[in-house]
Each structure stands twice: as C-alpha cells, then as structure tokens.
C-alpha cells in the first residue's frame, strides 16, 4: 500500500483524510450501547479502519488493540472524536499498549464531564430556548435554526478528531488542567440561561379571587404574586422539583406524574 508508509516504529501512518473519516465514524460510538461495557463495542467499530491501517499485517498487534478498546468506556459523544484522534496518534507513534489504555481510561471520565456540561447543559438549553420562541409563534425559523446548529455540530466531529490527533501526548496535561475551569464557566452560562428559561417557559397562574367586600374581589395572581415578583410560582415550583430530585432522589417520571395529578386536582378545584 502506497499510503501505508511505515513510521519510524514500523507502523502505518494515517492521512488527514483518515483522521476526518475517524471523526465521522465516531458516530458509531453508541451503535451497540449496552449496560455491560456501555459504548466500548461501538467505540471499537469506529476505531477499526484507523487501527487496521496502523497495524497493517501485524495481526497480533491489531487483535491486542481491538481487545483493549473493547473494555468499558462511557464518554460524551462529542468528546469521543477528540479521544479517538488522540488515541490514533498514540497508536501510530508506537506508544506502549499500557500507556495508550491508561490514558484512554484516565481521560474518558473528565471528558464526559466537560462534554456534557457544554453540549447537554449549555448548548441545548440555549438553542432550545431561543428556537422555541420562534416555534411557538409557528415560525419555521425555529426548527430550521435548530437543525442547522446540530448539523454544524455533527460536522465539527471532523475538526474535533483532528484536534485530538494533533494534540498528542502534550494535550493530556492541558485537558486535565483546563477541564475544570471550562466546565465551571459552561455551568455559569448554563445556569444563567436556565434561570431565564424558568421565567419564560414555566407557566403557573392562579385563578382564585378573594372577596374583600360585596361585589369587589381581588385576584391572587395579579394583586398578590405578581406584585411581589413576576413568575414567583414557576421559580418556587422548579426549586421544589430540584430539591426532590437532588436531595430526595425522586425519579423524574414520578415528578412528571405528580405534576399531572396536582394540575388535574387544582383544575378540578378551579384554583389553576
């Protein structure tokens, strides 16, 4: 194979194209998701062409690499291409099996944390919050912008894999050093937006009126709650749910059902 020029270590070398393909193949990460070893089977499926090229005719080396990759892994799906690129560069340089495996195992957890903080807890609430305001008015802009953002995120898997591949071993201390501060800042952004989402999209309005004199009544909602602070009830209810989820470990499905029961009871009583 012409493209399979051996490196100093006698292993095949990946081209830029191979690394981009690896980035796209990271989509297979969850193809065989299961409780025994989570993403490992799909992870190995994604890595396979790169490993095959690196090991060439060395069947024994390839079998050892595949076996090592089949151990438990569970990380964020946008962090996966980064880690795959990094691992590919280590395999290519002929690092020791134990070094490669040690680094993969050491990094998938922290990368899952920072990846989830950015993709699920920051980007999704922001994109959902902004596009929903268009969608609620029936504007196609809502789903369209939503789709474009995530199509771009999908394509970003290629540069992310390249980043991991080029970073090599020197990146590891950097990832460890910065993952804390980056997820800290992502949490600040996320919490600010969630505060906004609570005020905008949770709607609780009390219908009850209190009779103060004959023929005169005041609305609890507009004359009382709204005068203290707008959206007070949505904030209070969200905090109650947070408390039950976090401190009492109540399952979200139970809370969803409880919300329905409460809503129906209060509807029957005419309070909401």
């Amino acid at each position: 194979m012409a493209s399979n020029t051996p490196t100093e270590t006698g292993r095949g070398k990946l081209t830029k194209h191979d690394v981009r393909v690896l980035g796209l193949r990271s989509i297979f990460n969850q193809s065989a998701m299961n409780y025994e070893r989570m993403q490992a089977d799909g992870w190995t499926l994604a890595m396979m062409p790169a490993l095959k090229k690196i090991y060439g005719d060395d069947k024994e080396g390839l079998a050892a690499a595949l076996d090592a990759n089949l151990q438990f892994i569970n990380t964020n799906n946008y962090a996966a291409p980064l880690l795959m690129g990094l691992e590919a560069s280590l395999e290519e340089n002929g690092e020791k099996r134990s070094t490669i495996d040690g680094l993969r195992i050491a990094l998938f957890g922290p990368l899952a944390g920072i990846g989830d903080a950015i993709t699920w807890f920051t980007i999704l609430p922001i994109v959902a919050g902004i596009t929903a305001s268009f969608a609620k008015q029936g504007s196609i802009l809502g789903p369209l912008v939503f789709f474009l953002v995530y199509a771009a995120m999908f394509l970003a898997r290629m540069p992310i894999a390249m980043l991991g591949y080029n970073a090599g071993t020197k990146a590891i201390s950097k990832i460890r050093e910065n993952s804390g501060i980056v997820s800290h800042c992502a949490s600040i952004l996320g919490c600010t937006v969630i505060g906004g989402l609570i005020a905008t999209y949770v709607q609780i309005s009390v219908k009850t009126r209190i009779h103060v004199a004959a023929g005169h009544s005041i609305s609890i909602q507009t004359e009382f709650f709204d005068r203290i602070f707008p959206n007070l009830l949505p904030l209070a209810y969200t905090f109650l749910l947070y408390y039950l989820l976090k401190k009492k470990n109540v399952s979200p499905v139970v809370l969803i059902l409880a919300t329905f029961v409460l809503a129906i009871v209060f509807s029957w009583l005419g309070v909401l």
Partner: protein
C-alpha cells in the same frame, strides 16, 4: 381529523430515521423540535407541528440521555403530541400530557435493549481476537438495526392503531380534566429544568440562576438571546479571572521556590 394509512406509514418511516439518530446521537433529528415539525408536515398541518415542537422541546429540555441513562422517549412524545392534537383537536399543551404514556413505554423498551444487548459482547470479543473485522462490524451494527425496526413498528401502531381509542377517550373527558392536562403541559418544563439544575447547580451558581431569572422577567424581548449574552459575559469574566488567579499562583510558587533555593545557597556558605 383522521390519520390515513399512508400518513401512518410515513410517520413510521420517519420514526426509523429519528430512532437511529437518537440511538447514535447524530444530527439531533430526534429532538421534539424536529420530530414535531416533520410529523406536522406529514399530516399536512406544518404550523401545528412547529408550535407543538416548541412546546415539547422545552418540556423535554432536561430529559437528556447523559451518562448512559435513558429519559422518557423524545421521539414518541413528539410524534404523539402532534398526532393527538391533530386527531382530537385539543391544544398542543394538552396533547403533551396525553402523549406521555407512549413516551414512557418507549423509554422502557430502550432500557430493556440496554440490558439485552449485553449478550453480544462475548461474541464480539471472539471476533476481535480472531481479527474478523467484517463479522465484528456486522454484529456491532445489529443493535442499531433492531432499535430502528422497533421504532418503526411502535410509531406506526401508536399513530395508526391507537387513534380511534385515544379519540374516544379524549372526547369523553370532562372539561376540568382536559384543562388539567393543559395546565400540566405548561408546568412540565419545570421538571426538565429541575433535572438540568440537579446536574449542574451548586451553591456558587445560584446567583447566576437568579440573574438570568430576573433578566428574563424584566427584559421584554421575543427570545432568550439577551439572557444568553448576559450569561456568556458572566462566563468570560469568570474565565479570565480564574486564569489570572492560576497564573498568579504559578508565579507565586515559582518565587517561593527560587527564594528557598537562594536561601539554601546562603546556608551552604
């Protein structure tokens, strides 16, 4: 309104695509925003689909598959919210609640698959050992195919098969009950936001939550962009502050090190 056989089949076909997308977390076509819009388009009421998409997306904002957990299924929720609003004529907020049982049913099917697919790992190990890469690839893709087919069948049965009984059920509901469902639909995003906060809120982030809340209460603007920009500004302030602090600590440590070194030198003399 009635869902025709062709429409039922098309929704089933779309569920296969979205199901694979959710399984792999690919293009996020599985989020209610997209699912509702496409379902609406298939049923011939795009606007209904888009509006339901906005509502359902928010209700499911915090219900994420983070860390290998499995939330109530966003695809079945999205499809059934639009289908039920379309067939019964109720508002999308009411329909979200009615769609929930379908969503939870699918959640449990996927949870079952997570356990079931563990049986494949032994065989995959053998293929890896013998470097049978083609066989490995085929077997590692099998779960995705099984999941895809399940979505197609489930979506078709729920959309086409369940529409008559659901319609009868909804039409026999008293006003206070369907109003209750509508209220619950409007409160439901709180569960999602509560879940998001469960994963990220610490005492030190409460001020940011309150700032975002207050900003959204008093900035009258069509969408959440201003709040997002405020959040971004706060995040950057903290980032540079933190960076400076780490740099200073490093410098300080270097100074201490060099000071103690020179001390050692003088002691030596």
């Amino acid at each position: 309104m009635q869902v025709t056989l062709i429409q039922g089949l098309l929704v089933g076909l779309f569920a296969i695509i979205a199901g694979v997308d959710f399984w792999l977390e690919g293009l996020y076509l599985f989020r209610p925003m997209i699912v509702c819009t496409i379902t609406g388009a298939i049923l011939g009421d795009l606007t209904l689909g888009i509006i339901a998409g906005g509502l359902t997306e928010l209700a499911f904002a915090g219900l994420t598959p983070v860390g290998g957990t499995q939330p109530p299924n966003p695809i079945m929720a999205g499809i059934m919210t639009v289908v039920l609003a379309y067939t019964t004529g109720k508002t999308p907020s009411t329909a979200i609640g009615l769609a929930l049982p379908f969503s939870i049913l699918m959640q449990y099917i996927i949870l079952f698959y997570y356990s079931a697919f563990s049986v494949l790992t032994k065989k995959l190990d053998t293929y890896a050992e013998n470097v049978e890469t083609k066989k490995f690839a085929r077997l590692a893709m099998l779960p995705t195919v099984i999941v895809a087919l399940t979505y197609g069948v489930m979506a078709f049965l729920c959309v086409y098969g369940a529409q008559e009984p659901m319609k009868a059920l909804v039409n026999s509901m008293p006003v206070w009950l369907s109003h209750g469902f509508e209220i619950a639909g409007n409160i439901l995003p709180a569960v999602g936001f509560g879940l998001l906060l469960k994963s990220m809120l610490k005492a030190e982030y409460v001020p940011y939550l309150l700032l975002g809340f207050t900003a959204a209460c008093f900035i009258k603007f069509g969408n959440l962009m201003p709040v997002a920009v405020i959040g971004l500004a706060l995040a950057f302030i903290e980032f540079y502050h933190n960076k400076k602090q780490t740099d200073n600590e490093k410098k300080l440590r270097a100074m201490i090190d060099s000071a103690s070194e020179s001390e050692d030198d003088s002691d030596g003399i």
